[in-house]
Symmetry: C2
Subunit: 320 residues, 2 copies
């Protein structure tokens, strides 16, 4: 299924989210308006707003709260990307210059702050305390979690545990929030909300593992960023961890991460691509995929459930 | 009056705010805990929490909501300082290294994000929609407003107008929020809330003008940062604007700000110190001070009102 087909049950409403984002991008402070337009009108896949809307389809689907909340989730996501790209000093995202590259890191920092605040303001329009608290807690998890990775030892067991905590905090937490918003704002029974959150958690983890695989095996022109970016930025993700674990005598990952020998990145990428590590990582992603699908079975069968199933399938099969 | 005497009506409650901040500073992610402790336990004057608490004294003073909200206001304030110090590349604040200097700008960026989120989570505990909306809008104003200054022309009339908008957004907005929180959470009549907000706005503007004067005339050891920091960081504040306006033939401010000739900063500081510009700036601060005091007269006479009056007096007379 194509993404258009998957999004069919919420197609018109996603267009309203897009319209909302375009409205938010207009601002009477000229520089802020330019930054917002650059960051928000980005042709992104809008997976998180789609997840929020589809999660709203199991009960009383209320566009008055779902549209602002779906937009809020996307703004929060984009805010974290804008700040991540400062931290990682990333030149490209989706094939175009990052905000920090194009406008400088100071403007990017302030834009990210503004996006968090604007997202919070939208979350507040729901007047739903569970959602408002959840919004703040998600941003606490995302920003706090990024401080978890630093200062960790190079023990591979620790590295793996830290990796799973890290991707839970930085990626899955926002998927969970999207699913919770959609379902709680639609008055779903708690059991269904929990099933959707569990689906979203596994969806988010699968999404991130695939992302980290693609950083090694993807086509740089399709991904819009160079292969091996993570290692180059000093980030040790699942493929590197498993490689270092399987081949303890090869100190190549150690040299890149600990001794900061960036000259070894291309060789490490090649070694990992041609080893069985990528297959092992795919198995781990597949395991999260299976759990996500199992969670969906607790929900009533309907078009939205089919779409949620197809969405996680799409993500696990994607190549960019 | 000393600050202790001014704070007397809310002394015990400010200690509870301090305790709340200490609790927040403990975190099971080790690096985050260290950063929080460094940033929050800073011996600051806690003017904004005091303002929130004193504003709560005119009606039903409810510590259950006022303590978290006063802590929220301070966290939001500290978050903006942490991000400001990245942007300005400032080495010192209150005589100690800034977070970005001591821990690196990436950690400082994430700490600021976390503080915004943590502050939002505390604001949410009030379950008061006016306050929650106001919280998000204040952060929008502060971060968006910082993007106003960039890209402005070097026309002095524009520069002055931009300066007043800028200090309203970056400083007065948070004073206003503190006053609104305290009074609205105490169920004050709308008229009193508006009087307190107007007081806070003028208080904030006076505070910032004095701050910008002290950057020229202060004692660097007492201020905990070098004299002339603003000009050195390329920020054109009221003394520089008035100097450039009064002496259009002297192009010294132009050379520093537009031509980035940092070698001229010491001379510019000396010229401004020995001119009548500082007195003119003090008159402007005094005017805000007078307006702040006038607003207080709309409120019932009580210990808290006396303290609010003394607080703005303290701020206008401060030398660091």
């Amino acid at each position: 299924m194509t993404l258009d087909e998957i999004y069919a049950p919420v197609k018109d409403d996603l267009a309203l989210v897009e319209k909302k984002l375009a409205t938010i991008a207009r601002h009477d402070i000229p520089l802020l308006g330019k930054l917002l337009e650059y960051a928000l009108i980005n042709g992104g896949k809008r997976i998180r707003p789609a997840l929020a809307l589809l999660s709203g389809k199991f009960c009383k689907y209320d566009l008055d709260v779902l549209i602002p909340m779906a937009a809020s989730v996307e703004l929060l996501h984009i805010g974290t990307l804008v700040h991540d790209d400062i931290i990682d000093n990333s030149p490209l995202r989706h094939g175009k210059s990052t905000v920090s590259q194009a406008w400088g890191s100071n403007s990017a920092l302030l834009l990210g702050d503004y996006l968090f605040a604007r997202a919070g303001r939208l979350a507040a329009t729901t007047e739903n305390m569970r959602i408002i608290r959840g919004f703040a807690e998600t941003l606490m998890t995302i920003s706090g979690g990024e401080l978890r990775e630093a200062g960790t030892s190079f023990d591979m067991a620790d590295a793996k545990e830290n990796y799973y905590k890290w991707i839970n905090d930085k990626t899955a937490s926002l998927f969970i929030m999207a699913a919770e918003c959609g379902s709680a704002l639609s008055g779903c029974p708690e059991e269904q909300i929990q099933a959707l959150k569990e689906y979203a958690r596994n969806f988010g983890l699968a999404f991130q593992v695939i992302d980290d695989i693609l950083d090694f095996v993807g086509d740089s022109s399709q991904m819009g960023k160079p292969v091996g970016s993570d290692l180059n930025e000093g980030a040790i993700t699942l493929p590197s961890i498993i490689y270092a674990e399987k081949y303890p005598d090869s100190r190549i990952i150690h040299r890149i991460i600990i001794e900061k020998d960036k000259g070894m990145v291309a060789e490490a990428v090649e070694k990992i691509r041609s080893s069985s590590v990528i297959d092992e990582c795919r198995d781990i992603a597949q395991n999260y995929y299976n759990k996500a699908c199992q969670s969906l079975e607790k929900l009533p069968d309907c078009e939205a459930r089919k779409s949620l199933n197809a969405l996680v399938t799409f993500v696990i099969k994607r190549n960019r």
